[in-house]
């Protein structure tokens, strides 16, 4: 509502690469944007902050031409524009780097880098379909990747793929680079490379819009910040450093949120145990992991270390060597159905492709693993289902609290809450395995999800959290298991110094 007075509307228009004012957008009954404004200066990195549901994603989609606004005006390089498609926007020089990668895993790195050139058309039969290898290699070098052009993209780690996507942006005359949570999948080294590329682009006169939840990243990279709340711009293009983190959080939420310290439960009997497991397809077998009742074990590892893979194996979601047990019952890696029947909840890392049923209601997303007890002779009891799931949705502060609404209509953080609710609803819940439970989730949702995880642990559930987010690891876990290059490299107690954890992760210091 209170757009601050330093709105740069009076400045010379040439200074701005892209200005959007008065943007409004309504989806069905949900008003995503009411009156948003964002102004990107040439040569500056602009951060866009906001809770999930504040309208960030919608605003970004409008800026890159994927969605048309209901109202408002967009000025690009001084002239009003209305892009009809992403392709048009890309041709004009607005290049999006998405949170959900828009690459082709089956194709080679070279072919992926040529995608824009191919999409530009015309060249289908000219025999020069791919960009010259030397140029492609040059782009890869700029983002600090040293990989063979013929490598299939699917064999790269998520972080490397993201860098390929950025490299692809270099193939265009990029005037505005839009980065939607690009760092979520990157490790520290990869993030540094990305930052360097973005700064270089900006030094050349481009503008960058950078969406992130992490203050560390924003302070490291951005020059200016715009904050959205409830579809409105509440802080408009303020220089970084004018507002403290608390002020920014307050602007985002309208209220302060505290991260409560984890309550330590008593050590109890082992619940979830794995013997002779492997971390990742190439990792050597022989990893033993035990999680006790009431305990939250943090599984840490850089991208590609095998940490996520090990966690997926423990949840029964991924096949591999070794054996698993919960209590007295055993199951095999990849036996997800039996694992679920034994009371093991699993929250996958990629909520869109592996977790969410977008076409189904929020309630049905929550109840999918609990249909057994909710059915009698093949009939689902609708009231029992609502009674079982709705309180969980309420406790997780689902917003808007409409259990009948389609899951796809919720914001990312609220979709993640649906997956958490699904896990908590597993009948006879004994263990939870969560992969990146708050990736791409805003501060408030993150707090709610962490609280739910702690409550489950206090109630005696064995919890394993695999995360690449050190902050999350340190506020949540009772002890840390560090995976490096497919092996269990270290075990650290709660309270271990961040530096020790970092050293174990990267293997830089003598253990």
């Amino acid at each position: 509502m209170s757009a601050s007075d330093d709105a740069p509307s009076g400045d010379a228009p040439a200074e701005f690469a892209l200005v959007a004012t008065g943007i409004a957008k309504t989806y069905g009954a949900t008003c995503a944007l009411r009156s948003a404004r964002v102004a990107l200066r040439r040569g500056r990195v602009h951060a866009l902050l906001g809770e999930n549901g504040a309208g960030k994603s919608t605003l970004v989609k409008i800026l890159v031409g994927a969605v048309r606004p209901d109202a408002g005006q967009i000025t690009f390089a001084g002239a009003p524009v209305a892009f009809g498609s992403v392709t048009q926007a890309i041709r004009a020089g607005i290049v999006p780097i998405y949170q959900h990668l828009s690459l082709f895993p089956e194709l080679s790195v070279h072919e992926n880098l040529s995608a824009f050139a191919l999409a530009a058309g015309g060249g289908l039969w000219t025999g020069r379909r791919l960009v010259e290898p030397a140029r492609a290699r040059g782009w890869l070098n700029e983002v600090g990747l040293d990989i063979d052009l013929a490598t299939p993209l699917g064999s790269l780690s998520l972080g490397e793929r993201q860098l390929v996507e950025v490299a692809r942006a270099l193939s265009l005359d990029c005037r505005v680079l839009v980065l939607d949570e690009p760092i979520a999948a990157l490790n520290a080294d990869e993030a540094d490379r990305l930052f360097a590329v973005v700064r270089r682009l900006c030094a050349g006169g481009a503008a960058a819009l950078f969406i992130s939840h992490r203050f560390d990243e924003i302070e490291a990279l951005a020059d200016e910040v715009t904050v959205l709340r409830d579809g409105r711009t509440v802080i408009d293009a303020a220089p970084i450093g004018r507002h403290s983190r608390e002020q920014l959080t307050h602007a985002m939420l309208g209220a302060g949120v505290e991260a409560a310290p984890a309550r330590l439960s008593e050590r109890a009997e082992p619940v979830l145990a794995g013997r002779g497991l492997a971390a990742g397809r190439d990792g050597r077998a022989g990893i033993d992991v035990t999680v006790h009742a009431g305990e939250i074990v943090g599984l840490a590892g850089l991208i590609g270390s095998g940490a996520l893979s090990l966690a997926a194996t423990l949840g029964g979601a991924q096949a591999g060597p070794g054996e698993l047990s919960v209590g007295d019952a055993s199951f095999t890696p990849g036996g997800r159905r039996r694992a679920a029947a034994l009371g093991i909840a699993y929250v996958p890392a990629d909520r869109h492709s592996e977790g969410l049923f977008g076409a189904l209601s929020a309630r049905r997303n929550g109840s999918v693993s609990a249909l057994g007890p909710l059915a009698r002779l093949g009939w689902l009891r609708a009231r029992a289902e609502a009674q079982a799931i709705d309180p969980l949705l309420r406790r997780l502060k689902l917003h808007p609290l409409v259990p009948e609404a389609e899951a796809a209509t919720f914001s990312g953080g609220n979709q993640q809450k649906l997956l958490i609710a699904r896990g908590l609803a597993v009948p006879g819940l004994k263990a939870m395995v969560l992969l990146e439970p708050t990736r791409g989730v805003d501060v408030a949702a993150r707090g709610v999800i962490h609280e739910a995880i702690r409550e489950a642990a206090v109630a005696g559930v064995a919890v394993l959290v695999a995360t690449s987010d050190l902050d999350e690891l340190m506020v949540l876990a009772h002890r840390y298991l560090v995976v490096r290059e497919g092996t269990l490299a270290a075990e650290l107690p709660r309270g271990a110094a961040r530096a020790a954890l970092l050293a174990a992760l990267s293997g830089s210091a003598a253990a």
Partner: protein
Amino acid sequence: MRTKRLPDTPGLPGRRGLPRLARPPAVALVCLGLFLLCCAFVPRFASFGNIENVLRVASILCVVACGQAVVILLGGIEFSFGASAALASVVTVTALPALGPVGGLAAGGASVIAIGAVNGFLVGRLALPPVIVTLGTLMMASGAAAWLVGGLPIDAPPSAAFSWPARGRVLGVPVPILAALLACAALHLMLAHGRIGRLWYHVGANPVAARLAGLDVTRITTLGYAVAGAFCAVGAIILTSRVASGQPALAPNLPFETIAACAIGGLPLSGGRGRVSQVVFGVLTVAMLNNAVVLINLPVAWQLVLLGLAVLAAVGLQKDWAALARLARRRGR
């Protein structure tokens, strides 16, 4: 400003508090419009006899479309329905001397269910693409039907029991129409209240997530195709009874007409969404189109052309069904 209500299927909002079943889908508008157009401009359309005829044709289509809807919900597609109906008619007539009319029709129906189960096994267990699998079984069923009767239709000896599925009446209601009503009711119960229907939605919406949530995706898929086969079997029995013969080329357009009915009804071919009322209105639209073509003396071949156009229009409009519904709501205010 923010209202508390979000529609979970594309459809007209109706009155607040109206149960979901009573909220008509957007295709109802199209169907109603076509009906009024036909009444106004197509000669002899609006007679009792013709309407009953339309409903009779629609009823067979409807029963089979219920099966197609299950497969489409699962994110698949069924091309083998026409060929398996033809095989059913041939099996029926071949088995007639040994098993009698009831046993023969049952044997024909069982062969359709078996083909459905095979499709389900190949799609569910072996993870083969549904298009290829059902095209493969289409060819095999078609070939088997031609082989069984040596390529030429064989007439069935007339009997009351044999002609009952197509021509009988129960309390004055033609049996095919009754069968369609029962099929719709059964499918509605499965989808809206049954556990298996819910599981189909889950697998259709996101098979990977369904597996990770602990569902038995293979079994759910196989069962879905088998149930689809059962719906098709009922349709095949009625068809066989109607033509009173074993015909290796009985209903070649059946899969396309049922896919058309589902698409026009607004079921996304990507799966995970849809309800029975959409299928019903889609079927009625297809049946009226076909009937109108005959009544205005266009060549019958036009049926397919029009149907193709209707399908393309429906799929093209599909993402805008919701917009259509919103438009109607705004008008209603």
